[in-house]
C-alpha cells in the first residue's frame, strides 16, 4: 500500500480497497478458513451446542497499556463465548475506519487482533470494511461476531444459583477501567497500570472441570458490582461481598482513592466472576490459582436469602453498605 493514511477511496470498492484488504487484513489474518473472494463461508463445527454472540468496540484511545482495540475485539467476543461454557471457533470482523487514520496504526491494531485470535485458537473467516468521513467516527470502530460450541446439557445460568453459593473472582478488578481512563485522559504513562485485557478461556476451561459450577460472567462495563446486581435481580436473592476479600491492585486502589472512583464499578476485560456451590468453592479457587491468569483469584462473597434482590458490601469495620446499581454518572449524595 502506497498511502500513509486511510482515505474515502479505501472504502469505495475499487483498487484502493482491494489493496487495503489484501495487504492489511488478509495478510495478518490469513488462515485456512479465510477467503476474501467469497461472499460467505461454510463453517465446520464440532459436536455440541452451537453458541453465537456479537459485540462492538469503540474504546478510546485505540491503543492503551496492555492492549488495543484489535486485541480487545477478539477477547471481548471470545470471552463472551467462554463464560457461556463454549470453545470459540470462528469470528467475523466488521471494520469502520474514519478517514485519516494512519495506516501504520491500523496495521498495528490488525496485527494485534490476528495475534490474539491465534493465541485463543479462533479463526477470522468473514469480514467487511467501511470508511467513514472525517469526524464521523472515533478513528476506528470494530465489531466481531463469534461462533463456538459447547457440550450439550451444560447446566450453566443464573437460574441455577442457590442461596449459600459462593462468588469467586479470577483476579484483581478495575485494571482495565483505570488503564484506559488514564490513557484516554492523557495522564502520562504509568508502568504499574496495565489493562487486564486478555482471554479468559484458560479460566473457563478449568472452571468447567469443577463440580457445582452455576454461572460465569466477565465483568466488563459496570464492573464487578454490576455483575452482582444482575445476579441479584435475576435470581431474586441477595449477594453479600466481603470488602477485604475483593482483590484490587494497590496502584489501582491508589488512583481510585485519589480520583474518587470505586474499582468495583470499573470494567475488567480479562476476569471471570463465577458462582459455585459452597462446598466446591475451594476446589474452583485452587484450580484457578494454578493458572497465571488466576493467581490472585479469591472467594469474595456469597449468595443469600434476602427480602430484596440487593448487593451488600461488608466493610472492614463490619458495616453493611448497599452497593447501588450504577448510575449514569455517580453524583455525591453524602457531602
Amino acid at each position: 500500500m502506497q498511502d500513509s493514511h486511510i482515505s474515502l477511496a479505501h472504502g469505495n470498492g475499487g483498487r484502493y480497497m482491494r489493496e487495503l484488504i489484501e495487504e492489511v487484513f488478509a495478510r495478518h489474518l490469513a488462515n485456512p478458513g479465510l477467503d476474501t473472494r467469497c461472499d460467505s463461508v461454510p463453517l465446520t463445527l464440532t459436536q455440541g451446542e452451537v453458541m453465537f454472540t456479537t459485540d462492538g468496540f469503540t474504546v478510546q484511545p485505540l491503543e492503551f497499556p496492555g492492549g488495543n482495540i484489535g486485541s480487545l475485539a477478539v477477547h471481548g467476543t471470545t470471552n463472551d463465548l467462554a463464560v457461556a461454557g463454549a470453545e470459540p471457533l470462528y469470528l467475523s470482523l466488521n471494520v469502520f475506519i474514519e478517514e485519516g487514520l494512519e495506516v501504520a496504526r491500523l496495521e498495528r491494531i490488525v496485527a494485534a487482533l490476528a495475534e490474539a485470535a491465534r493465541a485463543v485458537g479462533v479463526r477470522v473467516v468473514a469480514g467487511d470494511t467501511k470508511v467513514l468521513r472525517r469526524g464521523e467516527g472515533g478513528g476506528l470502530y470494530l465489531a466481531t461476531t463469534g461462533v463456538g460450541v459447547r457440550a450439550r446439557g451444560l447446566c450453566l445460568g443464573m437460574e441455577h444459583i442457590r442461596a449459600g453459593d459462593r462468588v469467586v473472582v479470577s483476579g484483581p478488578v478495575g485494571d482495565h477501567g483505570i488503564a484506559v481512563l488514564l490513557a484516554r485522559e492523557q495522564f502520562g504513562l504509568r508502568g504499574d497500570l496495565v489493562s487486564d485485557a486478555g482471554s479468559v478461556l484458560p479460566l473457563t476451561r478449568a472452571a468447567l472441570e469443577c463440580d457445582a459450577l452455576r454461572f460465569m460472567r466477565d465483568p466488563t462495563r459496570g464492573g464487578l458490582a454490576t455483575v452482582c446486581h444482575e445476579l441479584a435481580q435475576q435470581s431474586g436473592l441477595g449477594v453479600r461481598l466481603q470488602q477485604t476479600s475483593v482483590p484490587v491492585r494497590d496502584a489501582v486502589q491508589s488512583v481510585c482513592d485519589m480520583l474518587g472512583y470505586d474499582p468495583l464499578y470499573l470494567a475488567c476485560e480479562g476476569r471471570v466472576v463465577a458462582v459455585v456451590g459452597a462446598a466446591q468453592a475451594q476446589q474452583l479457587l485452587a484450580c484457578w490459582q494454578l493458572l497465571p491468569e488466576g493467581a490472585q483469584a479469591a472467594i469474595i462473597g456469597s449468595i443469600e436469602e434476602a427480602r430484596h434482590p440487593q448487593v451488600v458490601m461488608v466493610t472492614e469495620l463490619g458495616g453493611e453498605r448497599l452497593l447501588d446499581e450504577l448510575e449514569d454518572d455517580p453524583l455525591p449524595r453524602i457531602c
Partner: protein, 462 residues
C-alpha cells in the same frame, strides 16, 4: 459528644436501668448507642454481640424485646432555645399540623443522611424517628419497617409517594420501585418548606426568604447546590441567591475529606503551592507528588469534578486550609471543629456580590479563602473571621434581595445552621436590619426535616 468540641452533650437518665446503673456507679458515665456509624440502633442480642463484639468487652441485655428501634433525640441551644438536631425516643413520631388539606394520603421518604419519613393525610403529618444514613442494608430494613408501622398505627394507606430529586438516593430509588405515583421535590425547596411549614402551623405562610445552606443537594440544573437562598413560599420557591461555584475533586469523597474542597479552592485562586502542601500532608500516601499531578490533571479535565455552590464545602475548605481538619472521621467534623476553635468575634470581610445573567445573586468567596491561608493570623482568628464573614454575606444577600422582592420573614434552614455561632451571628445581623428571623424549632434544620418539607411542598403544589 465528640472530641475537639468546646461543648459536652449531656444525656439525662430516662429509664429505671439508667438510674440503677448511675446509682451503683456513683458518678457520670460516658455512653454511646449500640450501632455502627450511621446505621440504626441494633435491637436484638445476637446481632449486637456479633457486630459490636469488636468494640465492647461485655453486654448488658434486657429481658424486654425491642419492637421498634428509636435513637435518643439530640438538642442544641441556639438563640436561646433548645432546637432538635435529631428526633427520636420521646418526641417521635412527631405530629405536626398542615396549613392546607391534602388531596390524598401521602408518604414522603426524605433524603439520604439522618433520614426520617413523613406520613401525612388530611391536615395531619407524622414524622418518624431518626432512621440513619440510607446507604446501609440495615437502614433500608428499618425504613421499610417504619413505612409499614406508621401506616398501620394510624390506619392510613399512602396513595402517593414524595421523594428527593437526587437519582442516587436510596430513598428515591426505593420510591421509584413502588407501585404508587411518585412526586419529586427539590432538596432545598424541601428544606425551606420544612421551616415554613412548622412555623405556619395552620395559618397562611406568607412570603419568605429562606437561606438553605447545607452539604450538598441535587439542584434543578443537575448541579450540587448548598448555598442557596430561595424566595416565595411552599410550592412557589424561586432561587434568588447562591455562591460562586467550584468543583468537588473526587465527587462524593469530598464529604469526608475536607482537603479536597480546600485543594479545589486553592487551584481556583492559582495558589498551587498551597494545594501541593495540602496533598503532601495526606497520611498513608506512597507518592504525594504523583497524587498531586494526577488530581490536578483530573481537575483541569473535569474528571469526577461536579460543580457545587455548597456552604458546607466552604466550611470544609476553611477547616482544611487552617489545618483544623483535613480528613474527617465523622460527618461535619471540619465545620464543627472550626466553630469550636473560633475566637473573639472578628470584623467580617466584605465579599463581592453580583447578579448573574441567570438572575441569581452570587457571592464570591475568593477573598475569604485567601484569608484562610494567611498564617499571620492565628487559627482561632481565622475561624472567627470565617463565621463573621459568612454571616455578613447572608445579611448582604438578604438586603440585596429586599431591594426587589418583598418578604415577611427570613428563614435559616439546612445542616449548616446547626452551627450555633453562625446562626446567631446571621440572626443578629438580620435583626439589626429590622428583618424578622425564623429558625427551626420542632424539626431539625438538617436533612431530618426533608420528609416533612416534601409534604409541605406537595400540599402547596397541587
Amino acid at each position: 459528644m465528640a472530641p475537639g468540641l468546646g461543648v459536652v452533650g449531656v444525656m439525662l437518665p430516662y429509664s429505671p436501668l439508667h438510674h440503677l446503673l448511675l446509682n451503683a456507679f456513683g458518678g457520670a458515665l460516658v455512653a454511646t448507642s449500640a450501632n455502627l456509624s450511621g446505621e440504626p440502633v441494633m435491637t436484638d442480642e445476637a446481632s449486637v454481640e456479633q457486630r459490636l463484639g469488636g468494640v465492647a468487652q461485655a453486654f448488658l441485655h434486657h429481658n424486654r424485646p425491642i419492637v421498634r428501634p428509636a435513637d435518643d433525640p439530640v438538642y442544641r441551644t441556639i438563640r436561646g432555645r433548645a432546637r432538635p438536631l435529631r428526633i427520636g425516643r420521646g418526641n417521635a413520631p412527631l405530629e405536626l399540623r398542615l396549613p392546607v388539606e391534602l388531596d390524598r394520603p401521602v408518604l414522603a421518604v426524605g433524603g439520604h443522611m439522618k433520614n426520617t419519613l413523613c406520613l401525612a393525610w388530611g391536615t395531619r403529618a407524622v414524622v418518624s424517628p431518626h432512621i440513619g444514613d440510607m446507604g446501609t442494608a440495615r437502614s433500608l430494613e428499618v425504613f421499610e419497617q417504619l413505612v409499614a408501622d406508621l401506616q398501620s398505627l394510624y390506619g392510613v394507606r399512602a396513595e402517593a409517594l414524595i421523594c428527593d430529586r437526587h437519582p442516587g438516593y436510596a430513598t428515591t430509588r426505593w420510591a421509584q420501585r413502588q407501585r404508587l405515583p411518585c412526586v419529586e421535590v427539590q432538596h432545598h425547596a424541601a428544606h425551606a418548606a420544612a421551616l415554613v411549614g412548622e412555623q405556619a402551623g395552620d395559618s397562611a405562610p406568607g412570603d419568605w426568604l429562606v437561606f438553605t445552606w447545607d452539604g450538598v443537594g441535587y439542584g434543578s440544573d443537575g448541579e450540587l447546590w448548598g448555598g442557596e437562598a430561595v424566595h416565595g413560599g411552599p410550592g412557589r420557591w424561586r432561587r434568588v441567591a447562591s455562591m460562586r461555584r467550584f468543583r468537588l475533586p473526587g465527587g462524593e469523597r469530598a464529604g469526608r475529606e475536607p482537603w479536597r474542597s480546600a485543594v479545589s479552592l486553592a487551584w481556583e485562586l492559582g495558589r498551587h503551592a498551597e494545594a501541593r502542601r495540602l496533598v503532601a500532608q495526606l497520611r498513608e500516601r506512597a507518592d504525594p507528588a504523583g497524587d498531586y499531578d494526577l488530581l490536578y490533571h483530573a481537575w483541569q479535565r473535569g474528571l469526577n469534578m461536579p460543580h457545587t455552590s455548597a456552604v458546607g464545602r466552604l466550611f470544609d475548605a476553611a477547616a482544611a486550609l487552617t489545618g483544623v481538619c483535613r480528613t474527617a472521621s465523622f460527618e461535619g467534623q471540619g465545620p464543627m471543629w472550626l466553630e469550636a476553635l473560633a475566637g473573639q468575634s472578628a470584623s467580617p470581610l466584605a465579599l463581592p456580590l453580583s447578579l448573574g445573567p441567570d438572575g441569581i445573586l452570587r457571592s464570591d468567596w475568593r477573598g475569604l479563602v485567601e484569608a484562610m491561608m494567611e498564617t499571620s493570623r492565628s487559627v482561632s482568628e481565622r475561624a472567627a473571621l470565617f463565621h463573621s464573614t459568612l454571616a455578613g454575606v447572608l445579611v448582604q444577600q438578604a438586603l440585596a434581595v429586599r431591594e426587589t422582592r418583598r418578604f415577611d420573614y427570613v428563614g435559616l434552614c439546612g445542616g449548616v445552621f446547626q452551627n450555633r455561632r453562625l446562626s446567631e451571628a446571621c440572626a443578629a445581623g438580620l435583626q439589626q436590619q429590622g428583618i424578622e428571623v425564623r429558625l427551626c424549632e420542632r424539626l431539625p434544620c438538617n436533612d431530618a426535616g426533608l420528609s416533612f418539607g416534601q409534604v409541605i411542598e406537595y400540599a402547596f403544589s397541587g
